[in-house]
């Protein structure tokens, strides 16, 4: 007996994973490596990787990320993926010749997925099957429901009708030698409406090769029907696997619970542990060569890096640049995905917000403690305005008893310190305030700067680890985060995805691929020293059903309004003196470097800073014109802030060394050296040219 398969489908666009809706809207999710590593660790049945790029080029260069790619084509990504992929891998996208198939197999694919070419040249299926075997040839069929009933096959990324009917086309591809059909419903793509069972059944009935069903899954419970009602040999989905912790194991469990004889849920693999295995000797070499490069100065740094292929542009509505820390897409009108997302958010009606509030209520009630044995939920708090807002909502609007958890990175401003310690009094709640040793923090500050150009690695990882550790320890399954930063900053998700906190997010975005074990053995740091940064095991999280929800997905989120409310109701204090690198006074009081030198390093890397971020948000919120924003950016983005002197004293680094190490992280697509100075194209030059 062959077991039905559960297959995540990943869409690759210019080297990055994207989320897709109706085959049209694509939003960046992140890099494929960390996701595939997670899949190997989860013992996933099989993986489908579809490259949907229009042209075969990507540029993923980021000096501050742990994962590095060689090359700039889809095959290079495939080779990198194959190193961490120990499940069958079907690879598709732009396959036109037998040589294309040969190259993909040689680069790590086990089967190839053919779509447009199969329709244009059916004989190609036969040639490929004869040469590589039927099991290597997967024909992908994109089917669209016709207005008056029936279906039609579309090609060219769901854009071109073919006049073919899916089930007869499937029968034909089988006759021509295909070994499997990957059947996708164009209408259901990203819809979360469940599979189109009628479509699946018609294709399964017309063929005797395996059929993989895809398109429409919005909940774990949607998978089983593809097999039980549709008769598919395997069920697949894309978006759902990106957004939830242990998504695949939970989806698998739902299928098993529905009676499908799938392989069991197996969390963890001794050959593919969740925490990356670093080649420490190679890492040492990379660090040493960076320090060497730093010593040799800017012109040497710049000389070693070819510039980008396309000049940098800025969003025509806000001021987001095309090269940014957060992955972003720009549409044909030159508008960034964050602005589009803000439009979608603005378009959400009061009734819809009410529905979302009730969804939140449902979740909170489901996880509320009924027997007094534990807290109702955990709120990770920094003591900022958002922390106050979250606690206000949870405690006073929904009447839960939360446990507040704070990671203290030893960088509080005086105002921030008063704010965080006021919370237990004004909200009448319990509060765990966790402070790692200062000596460890100093070493992690230095390491973060040298390894990834960010002294605050410890803070980003601490904040996204410690509350989950406390959740596991206190057996509290629900964590309440504020807003998903990337939804707001770069429009990474749809408002309908309801993304939650995941290990992948933490490792890829917050830790930049540098897990706690990377630090062990450096600056005398031991594994035991790193306990605050060690994420609980998947099995623990799975058994407890730990979820970290973002209430920004359920409640209307406007930071400026929150600040006003918490000042009035709870005595929240804003900064008594302005920050140097942004005009906002109410953000990041918990960490003097977050708005300061940490952010200055973002400017060094990508050519923009927090002022740009805040301006973008305020333009989207209608609080500022683009011209006003540009003036602020011009005034503030480049400023080297005063907290640098504290940091240099704190860690014992000289300013010249700091600057030179920082220079090694400059993005060559943004920065170049002219007459010994770093220069870049500027937003205001573009504006004057228009």
């Amino acid at each position: 007996m062959v077991r039905p398969r559960l297959i995540p489908c990943l869409l690759l666009k210019n080297g990055l994973l994207v989320r897709s809706q109706l085959f049209k809207v694509h939003q960046d999710i992140g890099n494929p490596m960390s996701t595939v590593m997670r899949f190997s660790n989860w013992n996933v049945d099989e993986l489908l990787l579809l490259d949907i790029s229009d042209h075969d080029y990507h540029d993923l260069r980021r000096e501050d990320l742990q994962q590095q790619y060689e090359g700039d084509t889809a095959l290079d990504v495939l080779r990198a993926v194959s190193r961490v992929c120990f499940m069958p891998l079907a690879f598709g996208g732009r396959i036109r010749t037998l040589e294309d198939i040969e190259l993909r197999l040689a680069s790590g694919a086990d089967k190839c997925v053919i779509n447009t070419k199969a329709v244009e040249d059916p004989d190609f299926i036969t040639q490929a099957s004869r040469r590589f075997g039927a099991q290597c040839v997967v024909v992908s069929i994109d089917a669209k429901r016709l207005e008056h009933g029936g279906y039609e096959v579309y090609i060219g990324g769901g854009k071109r009708p073919t006049g073919l009917e899916p089930s007869s086309w499937a029968r034909e591809v089988e006759r021509l030698g295909a070994g499997e059909v990957f059947l996708n419903s164009v209408d259901r793509d990203g819809s979360a409406l469940g599979y189109d069972i009628e479509l699946i059944r018609s294709v399964v009935g017309a063929t005797s090769i395996p059929v993989v069903a895809c398109g429409g899954v919005g909940a774990y419970g949607d998978f089983a029907a593809g097999v039980t009602q549709g008769g598919a040999s395997a069920v697949s989905a894309a978006n759902i696997f990106h957004f939830f912790e242990n998504s695949y194991p939970f989806a698998k469990r739902a299928c098993l619970d529905a009676g499908l004889a799938m392989r069991p849920v197996v969390l963890g693999s001794r050959w593919n542990p969740r925490e990356p295995i670093y080649d420490q000797a190679q890492a040492d070499t990379r660090i040493a060569s960076r320090l060497d490069l730093a010593r040799r100065g800017p012109s040497v740094v710049a000389a070693g890096r070819p510039s980008g292929r396309t000049p940098i542009r800025w969003c025509s509505r806000c001021v987001s640049p095309t090269i940014s820390a957060a992955p972003m897409e720009f549409d044909d009108a030159g508008v960034c995905s964050a602005c589009r997302m803000a439009d979608m958010k603005t378009a959400i009606t009061a009734e819809e917000w009410q529905r979302r509030r009730e969804l939140l209520r449902g979740i909170l009630e489901r996880y509320r403690c009924t027997d007094g044995s534990r807290y109702d939920c955990i709120i990770p708090v920094s003591g900022g305005k958002d922390s106050y807002f979250q606690t206000h909502v949870i405690k006073h609007e929904f009447g839960l008893n939360p446990l507040l958890v704070t990671y203290n990175g030893n960088n509080y401003t005086d105002v921030g310190w008063r704010n965080v310690h006021r919370m237990k009094e004004v909200f009448d709640v319990d509060h765990v305030f966790y402070s790692p040793s200062v000596s460890l923090l100093k070493r992690l500050n230095r390491l973060g700067m040298i390894v990834m150009g960010d002294m605050n690695w410890h803070a980003h990882v601490g904040i996204t680890t410690l509350p989950i550790r406390v959740a596991a320890q206190f057996q509290v399954p629900l964590l309440i985060w504020g807003e998903h930063g990337y939804l707001d900053q770069c429009g990474q998700f749809s408002m309908d995805d309801f993304p939650e906190m995941t290990y992948r997010d933490r490792l890829e975005h917050f830790a930049r691929g540098y897990e706690w074990n990377y630090m062990v053995g450096r600056e005398g740091i031991s594994a035991q020293d790193m306990i605050p940064y060690q994420y609980p095991a998947d099995q623990v999280l799975f058994d407890l059903d730990v979820r970290g929800i973002y209430i920004g997905n359920y409640l209307y989120w406007e930071a400026n309004d929150h600040a006003r409310m918490v000042i009035e109701q709870y005595g929240f204090e804003i900064s008594d003196q302005p920050f140097e690198r942004t005009y906002r006074r109410m953000s990041n009081l918990d960490d003097m470097h977050e708005n300061g030198m940490h952010d200055y390093l973002k400017y060094i890397k990508f050519g923009y800073g927090r002022c740009t971020d805040h301006v973008c948000k305020d333009i989207r919120a209608g609080l500022m014109s683009r011209e006003e924003g540009i003036a602020l950016v011009r005034q503030m983005d480049h400023i080297k802030s005063r907290d640098l002197s504290r940091w240099l004293d704190y860690t014992g680094m000289a300013e010249v060394d700091f600057d030179r190490i920082a220079d090694t992280f400059r993005d060559p697509r943004v920065w170049r050296v002219e007459n010994g100075e770093w220069v870049k194209d500027n937003l205001w030059d573009e504006s004057s040219a228009q």
Partner: protein
């Protein structure tokens, strides 16, 4: 060191990465001479039997493989088509001769139930038939990934070390002295598959 024969068609890289993951030293064998210094030989392969054999014959692999395995007693592992090539012959697209290291013929899968699809693509439970073997250790039933339309019917049932069920038991793996084969893809079978490769690697090191 293990030598993985480059069959030109097939998922060579996946096989190499699988062995690399379990810490084995592997090299691609481009020509028969490359087998000389190898401690073990791996024949990967996806595709058709006739093409696979033609590839081995054209470049003079057949005599060398037989000499290394029969005369020098080197361990060999055939994976999927690679296992089928170990047999006497196959009926896939006409009759073809194999390497003749395992007695038997490769025959087309015959579906006996409506749920059976050809190719057989997916995860099947594999039942070991010996209490202890090189390929399976002492392990019980585990699930591996298969992708094939043909299967090896062994002439000597003693060569069959594990079976899977496809309406009736079929050969999942063979083991005859130092000659090994798997119908499934251990390099693509996640943890159980990597464990399987690891056992083969450790056997080669011991031998």
């Amino acid at each position: 060191m293990l030598a993985v024969i480059d069959m030109k068609v097939g998922n060579l890289r996946s096989v190499l990465e699988g062995f690399a993951r379990v810490g084995a030293e592997v090299q691609i064998a481009q020509s028969p001479a490359d087998l000389e210094h190898a401690e073990g030989i791996v024949v990967p392969g996806v595709g058709a039997f006739g093409d696979g054999m033609a590839c081995l014959e054209q470049q003079g692999w057949v005599a060398t493989i037989r000499a290394e395995v029969i005369d020098k007693q080197k361990a060999i592992l055939g994976i999927c088509l690679g296992m089928q090539l170990l047999a006497d012959g196959s009926e896939e697209h006409g009759m073809h001769r194999g390497l003749g290291l395992i007695r038997g013929q490769v025959v087309r899968l015959e579906p006996t139930e409506p749920g059976h699809r050809i190719p057989n693509m997916g995860w099947c439970d594999v039942t070991p038939h010996r209490t202890s073997s090189v390929l399976f250790g002492h392990s019980s039933v585990e699930t591996f990934y298969f992708a094939h339309s043909y299967a090896l019917a062994c002439a000597d049932a003693a060569d069959i070390v594990a079976t899977f069920d496809y309406g009736r038991p079929l050969t999942a793996a063979v083991e005859r002295a130092h000659i090994f084969g798997a119908q499934f893809h251990p390099e693509k079978s996640q943890q159980p598959g990597l464990d399987f490769l690891d056992r083969f690697v450790r056997h080669v090191k011991r031998a």
